[in-house]
Symmetry: C2
Subunit: 441 residues, 2 copies
């Protein structure tokens, strides 16, 4: 499949087949592409990263529980032997729907069908000061930044003599009581309990404080109140300071200002309190709903366009049952990707779209510290050790590739048998935190 | 072991014991410290990284054969439960022998005994243009930079239409025919043979060219001529273009200028052609020999000082048998670290140094591509599959820690059974190459 240049400014193999351009190799994008294997279309995948990330386990990388390499899969490896697929590492700059073209940092590509699967990004709700001084937890670079940040603060605490400075370095604030926040807080609390005294004899265990701040009145608000209560109980037992009904107003890098007028001195803040659609530029304002998501119909067509689709987090299928669109979950993305691939095949053959999307809720789960989780599937609800086993099994099976499954499995086994984390490495030089410096890594 | 501050400007536990400060957690430093466990001295270890690196496997990280996390060990984990050890993450700025102090980016530390174990760094022999535009292969950041660089060049080649530009992107030049250069060239040739066509259908296998340039008349000059000939034969079979008796004069990022007047167009150059001592500032010029190494006596004392020692690559024990000091090898570093620890214990007790150093050569080995190596131990010489097995066993046993051994072992097994590399990830953003941008990661 050697290139025939120039076919468009981005070198692509010449073809008579309709070209489907997919932007984004997240859950939605890769499941869409898998279903199109061998079909009579040319699929062009654009992503700025050369890898797919298994987002549900980012928090374990952040807390040195897993190597980053175990939860990402190179795109070219995922799609080896897909003869109708072309991958291009490219950052999309804007879409030009009028001319059916996408402009990227490596040139433009024309499309017959366009699938926007760009996912979501951290939503700071306009709190610029917080954004400047905190980390999100949405991609592997965030996770590596957090890993280095935690460890560097502990190294600094080990040599800080004044108590106030030391306190700020050993206080860790996580904002947002959804799964990401709960899981990160639990993992950090485990680290504190089982590892801190071994690695840092200079730091007494109870100096380290983990705050989990949530604006509404319970943790895991998308789950049952029983799950919320269980998560709260377990985190409290792990000495996490959970503050419900509390908003974060500001953060200057040292002082976290809370809505209730109090503040917390902390040299680290991770923001997991919101996400928004991460749509590329060029789509008209009218195509968006609140949260920067593209409004789509039941076939995932972006309203107003016959050949532009959005799937996954970036899509909001607004209807009576889902007035705000579906929840921004991996399962929605996967199911939308699969269905759109089916519909598109049909459309290429017959010119019609056949099946409308309906979400099958496969349940939700979250781990809370070691060997503890909550899981809800249909009407079944579990908490504790069995939920944790379920969580582990489901996630292990969901990771792409035999090698990654094996590596993650072994890591978890070692951790289960013996509290032994993966490597606690500061490989990146951590500069005074600001999202700008993050992006430069 | 909580700090009693302020004891010196770098917070350290108060003690009556003599303080031994070690700079550098390489092979020499960690073996020295292990021997001092539980002895009546306070050991203070300073290193700018919070991890020890297993340098012999860096080339496998560079070529995506191993995860970086598998070949580095966090210092605090290595020395958990060493009650007489204090680790401080610090970059040494200079030594002040007159006042027995070390100045670092986090303050100063005073010492009773100072052990300089700072190892070596890439020696570009004054070729600034080469230094600006190429990568070394001396630490984990180098290895990760090379990994990203190789992959980014291939991504760029996949979309480059003019043949000349594509050639430069698929040409890889490695300078230096020692073990690092031979192993990297072999691994890159494996990648080309087994993986390139699967991952990059856009790039024909024979477009990719690997050049290994060596100034003297044979590869692996520290081994027998039989080993050199074997390495040359195997690399040629793997289509590596080996150029002996050829010096590199310059490299501007695109054109490699050779001593014989020819040039090679290549967008990547890795320089493994030389190392030099990486001594901290503050030692007088007279203490150094050629190659920036500290001249030491038979007890590893730096000449002119009673309480400053140098071990490993940074030390040159100049004698009749070793007019240039010992070779810069892990084995020398380990043996010097061990002996100095013994001598120092004796000195603390009795005030005398007892045993002079004599190097036991444990042989040398190098892998060349897949399942092939050369190994020479004493008068025994092996090449081919058995040497490779020996190499693998020795290296697997030498890696610190059960977890890393397991991870490396599994990776190798997977690779042995099936040509499947670890993850081919571009996690760092690769800027137009220059050593300055490297250091900012």
């Amino acid at each position: 499949m050697l290139n025939q240049c120039p076919h468009s400014t981005v070198c692509l193999p010449a073809t008579e087949l309709p070209r489907v351009v997919v932007i984004g190799a997240g859950f939605a994008g890769i499941h869409f592409i898998k279903k199109l294997r061998g079909q009579p279309v040319q699929v062009v995948l654009l992503d700025k990263n050369n890898f797919h990330q298994f987002q549900p386990l980012l928090y374990q990388v952040a807390i040195a529980g897993l190597e980053p390499d175990s939860i990402v899969s190179p795109i070219r490896k995922l799609f080896q032997d897909y003869e109708n697929l072309v991958y291009r590492m490219a950052e999309v700059e804007r879409i030009e729907p009028e001319t059916h073209r996408i402009f990227t940092n490596i040139g433009w590509v024309s499309y017959d069908y366009l699938v926007i699967a760009t996912g979501s990004t951290t939503n700071f709700y306009g709190l610029h000061q917080v954004e400047e001084n905190s980390a999100g937890l949405k991609d592997i670079r965030d996770a590596l930044d957090i890993r280095s940040w935690v460890l560097q603060n502990l190294e600094a605490a080990a040599i800080t003599c004044d108590q106030q400075g030391k306190d700020a370095l050993t206080n860790f604030v996580i904002v947002g009581g959804g799964p990401a926040g709960v899981e990160l807080a639990g993992a950090l609390a485990e680290f504190k309990r089982y590892l801190l005294h071994k690695d840092y004899p200079e730091i007494a265990t109870d100096w380290m404080k983990i705050y989990l701040v949530e604006a509404v009145d319970r943790l895991l608000p998308m789950m049952s109140s029983g799950a919320s209560a269980h998560a709260l109980k377990v985190l409290k037992k792990l000495s996490v300071e959970v503050q419900l009904n509390t908003a974060v107003k500001g953060y200057d890098g040292t002082t976290v200002t809370l809505g209730n007028g109090e503040d917390i001195q902390a040299k680290m803040l991770v923001w997991t309190a919101g996400v928004k659609g991460d749509a590329p530029k060029g789509m008209p304002e009218g195509a968006f709903v609140k949260g920067n998501r593209l409004k789509v119909d039941n076939y995932n067509r972006v309203v107003g366009y016959a050949n532009i689709f959005a799937i996954g987090d970036v899509a909001a299928m607004v209807s009576e049952e889902t007035p705000k669109g579906h929840p921004m979950l991996a399962q929605v993305a996967i199911q939308q990707g699969n269905l759109l691939a089916e519909n598109l095949q049909q459309h290429v053959r017959t010119g019609v779209f056949e099946k409308t999307f309906s979400y099958r809720d496969k349940g939700s789960m979250a781990t809370i510290g070691k060997r503890n989780a909550v899981a809800e599937i249909g009407k079944s609800r579990w908490k504790g050790w069995f939920a944790w086993l379920l969580w582990s099994t489901v996630h292990l099976f969901s990771i792409a590739g035999f090698r990654n499954k094996l590596m993650v499995g072994i890591n978890w086994m070692l951790r289960y048998l013996k509290y032994e984390k993966a490597n606690r490495l500061i490989i990146r030089k951590f500069k005074p935190i600001s999202n700008k410096s993050f992006q430069s890594f």
